[in-house]
């Protein structure tokens, strides 16, 4: 978390903070570029650590659910260094590019996938002030950018020149394109509640009630809970997590779109998966579970501890949702592709539309009654 401290202190916008460090008159584009580099470095570090921790957590969760231990050897306590060892192994492994692969696509795909996932982190509010860019269209930006990963997956599947990979890519395309709709629609409920697409604003609006005025506890809780379930289901599909892990379903497609990848390129896909999981969990946290707000945290407002604690609360809350994703993965079987489509179009989308209707009536009625 210490990596995020300069952020937290930065105020709203990294460039403002940088501007304060440099003498006046430094061109804006230099500050912007510098800010972008710093932001990228911070996000990259955060995502790397996150991916390492998440792989370890995933394996421990899987292990303990399956009445075994998971990794126990590397690093002493419960194999905490296993992910680091794996990371090092992937880094030094030979980078194999198939002779018959479409080399350009094959090489670009992992970078595109990871790049898109990292770009979406820009709009995530880690704390009241810890946000790289507080976009007014925050959540819209996240959805738009993160779906670029699909393009990378399709490139990977096509570029691998492997039929199983191609199948994975086609499934990914069909699945993600379909689930953008319920995902977007399920976000309409909180958006209507907050009246804003900005995640940062959502966080600020949930700060009342001694830090417990979360959307799920608000007067709209009866909309919040079903909409969160719908959002979470769509998010699982969006992040290719079980039961929607069809693009890489190992019992059908061997390893799906990343069958032919190895070494560092494979690790990019891996990091992307965990980054995407975290991203969706963070959006869920920000919109439904009070973002960085927690009872008692307000008391510290103004102190030096406030910003890091707020970031910690946000990350922990998001990680709990990530854990739920893992928990679901190790519980349920995998859906078939036509059922994925059925579920998206016949179940999630209509249900979301019903909720959107109810929410709009409810928010209108609230506004009308309170005379706002």
């Amino acid at each position: 978390m210490s990596a995020l401290l300069p952020f937290a202190a930065a105020g709203n916008g990294l460039t403002d903070w940088l501007a304060g460090l440099f003498p006046a008159g430094v061109p804006f584009w230099i500050l912007g570029l510098l800010g972008a580099v710093i932001a990228f470095a911070l996000i990259m570090v955060f995502v790397s650590v996150l991916a390492m921790f998440s792989t370890w957590l995933e394996r421990k969760v899987a292990g303990h659910i399956q009445v075994r231990y998971g990794p126990m050897r590397v690093g002493g306590w419960h194999g905490w260094a296993q992910a680091i060892a794996d990371g090092v192994k992937l880094l030094i492994k030979e980078d194999i590019v198939l002779a018959d692969a479409d080399r350009a696509l094959f090489k670009i795909a992992p970078c595109l996938v990871l790049g898109a996932a990292l770009a979406a982190f820009v709009a995530l509010p880690f704390g009241p002030n810890a946000i790289v860019a507080d976009l007014d269209l925050g959540v819209f930006f996240i959805l738009a950018v993160s779906s670029v990963t699909t393009l990378g997956v399709i490139m990977a599947g096509w570029g691998s020149n492997n039929k199983w990979s191609l199948y994975g890519a086609m499934r990914e395309a069909a699945q993600v394109a379909s689930y953008e709709i319920p995902l977007g629609l399920s976000l309409m409920m909180p958006v209507m509640y907050y009246g804003s697409l900005s995640l940062h604003r959502a966080g600020e609006m949930q700060a009342d009630w001694f830090g417990l005025h979360w959307y799920v506890f608000s007067d709209s809780f009866w909309l919040a809970i079903p909409s969160f379930i719908l959002f979470f289901t769509a998010a699982l599909a969006e992040t290719k997590r079980s039961p929607f892990d069809l693009p890489e379903s190992e019992s059908e497609l061997v390893a799906g779109f990343h069958t032919e990848y190895s070494g560092i390129r494979f690790s990019f896909f891996f990091m992307e998966e965990y980054a995407a999981m975290y991203l969706m969990s963070a959006v869920g946290t920000a919109f439904w579970f009070g973002a960085w707000n927690f009872p008692g945290l307000e008391l510290l407002a103004g102190s030096a501890l406030y910003a890091p604690l707020a970031v910690t609360v946000f990350v922990v809350k998001s990680m709990i949702l990530v854990f739920v994703m893992m928990w679901v993965r190790w519980t349920v079987p995998r859906i078939r592709i036509d059922q994925v489509m059925t579920m998206g179009y016949k179940y999630l989308t209509p249900l979301c539309l019903i909720l959107v209707f109810l929410a709009s009536v409810w928010e209108w009625a609230k506004a009308a009654l309170t005379g706002a």
Partner: protein, 390 residues
């Protein structure tokens, strides 16, 4: 998929436009190394997108010449080879072979040996079905039930280890009886397992079989009609899953099965059509409970006494002749057709493996299904490639 194709007569003013879209089917190799083919089975699939249009099995990657070996080793020496056709139900394989040799010899083993044989065969059936159900979960994409199933299987392997010393390839039930008598405390261990198992069974049901996704993936998928199952010579859960009430343990009883009270589980279209993947899995699930019941009864009825026919030595010389004995293995009828010329080596040793016949039908079920169903259907047939290839 039910309402995607609608063929109706053209209405007034409508005309049919044919699009000149030329597609080419993809040919995919599922196997020999593939997570869902349970060993080195290769299925050549032809697919139009996600829909399969053809399938062809290619066997032989695990062919170990069991029948040829049978013509070159002693009757007793062949026993360890029987473990290796269907390595998940080695006790049953031993039993099938031993019964066939005993038929050639014309002997019946002592009663205690028969009871211990039934206990072992039924525990082995549970053992095998646990793997079948667990790996079926894996094929469908559920990982955790597999580990729960293996956990109970481990207890069973301990039981087998205690009585015979081996955990997978037992070579324990031999022509003429058993290799060894049950050690002290063994029956208590078996009884403890039967009690535990019924509790644990519920977990597999709740976690896997009753899961909505599992039901959706298996119900109405890979339907085998009663006629089809019979014509293709399917046996075991494949046949019973299709609604045919046939179990060699009841209908042509061997050993002491005629004294035991058990139900034959028959697929009844619990969640879809009779004979779909769900029903086959359902039959396996409930057969485990029935086996558990049989084991309990055997423990109660088991007499003391010899475990070995007194005149059967280590070198067997059956009379010149032939015998066919088929028994109900976890996967169906395992038959041994033995031809002896009176020497200590078989003249012909034919193994009729259940997976072999069951798999022959599987490739005919695949066309028209989706790619993901290929894993579901092949998984529901529950083949062990060691047996199809022998």
């Amino acid at each position: 998929m039910d309402d995607t194709t609608m063929e109706r007569p053209l209405r007034e003013g409508e005309r049919l436009v044919e699009l000149d879209v030329r597609t080419q089917d993809v040919e995919i190799n599922m196997g020999p190394q593939h997570p869902a083919t349970h060993g080195v089975l290769r299925v050549l699939l032809r697919a139009d997108g996600e829909i399969l249009t053809g399938a062809q099995s290619h066997l032989g990657y695990l062919h170990r010449c069991a029948e040829k070996i049978g013509e070159s080793v002693d009757w007793l020496q062949y026993l360890p080879y029987t473990d290796r056709y269907d390595y998940l139900s080695a006790m049953n394989n031993n039993l099938a072979y031993s019964l066939a040799v005993e038929k050639l010899l014309g002997i019946e083993v002592p009663e205690r040996a028969q009871y211990i044989r039934v206990i072992l065969a039924e525990l082995n059936r549970i053992c095998s079905h646990l793997v079948a159900v667990g790996t079926y979960g894996l094929d469908i994409g559920a990982f955790t039930p597999f580990f729960y199933a293996l956990r109970e299987r481990e207890l069973l392997l301990d039981i087998f280890e205690k009585i015979c010393g081996a955990r997978l390839t037992y070579a324990f039930i031999r022509p003429g009886g058993l290799m060894n008598d049950a050690p002290a405390g063994w029956t208590d261990q078996v009884r403890a397992f039967t009690d535990l198992f019924e509790r644990k069974w519920r977990e597999y049901w709740d976690l896997l079989v009753d899961n909505k996704i599992f039901v959706e993936r298996t119900a109405n998928v890979g339907v085998i009609s009663e006629e089809q199952a019979i014509a293709w010579g399917c046996t075991g859960p494949m046949l019973r899953g299709s609604g045919v009430d046939w179990d060699l343990r009841r209908d042509q009883p061997y050993l002491v099965y005629d004294r035991l009270d058990f139900e034959v589980v028959v697929g009844q279209g619990y969640r879809g059509t009779v004979g779909d993947c769900f029903d086959r899995n359902y039959v396996r699930m409930y057969e485990m409970l029935e086996s558990n019941r049989i084991v309990r009864q055997c423990l109660e009825q088991m007499p003391e006494g010899e475990i070995q026919h007194p005149e059967v030595g280590l070198v067997l010389r059956p009379a010149p002749g032939e015998a066919y004995v088929g028994i109900e293995n976890p996967r169906g009828e395992l038959g041994h057709y033995l031809v002896s010329d009176g020497n200590k080596i078989a003249r012909r040793l034919r193994v009729r493996g259940p997976s072999f016949s069951n798999l022959a039908l599987a490739e005919h079920l695949l066309p028209g299904c989706m790619l993901a169903d290929a894993a579901a259907i092949i998984g529901s047939v529950d083949i062990v490639v060691g047996e199809t290839d022998r």
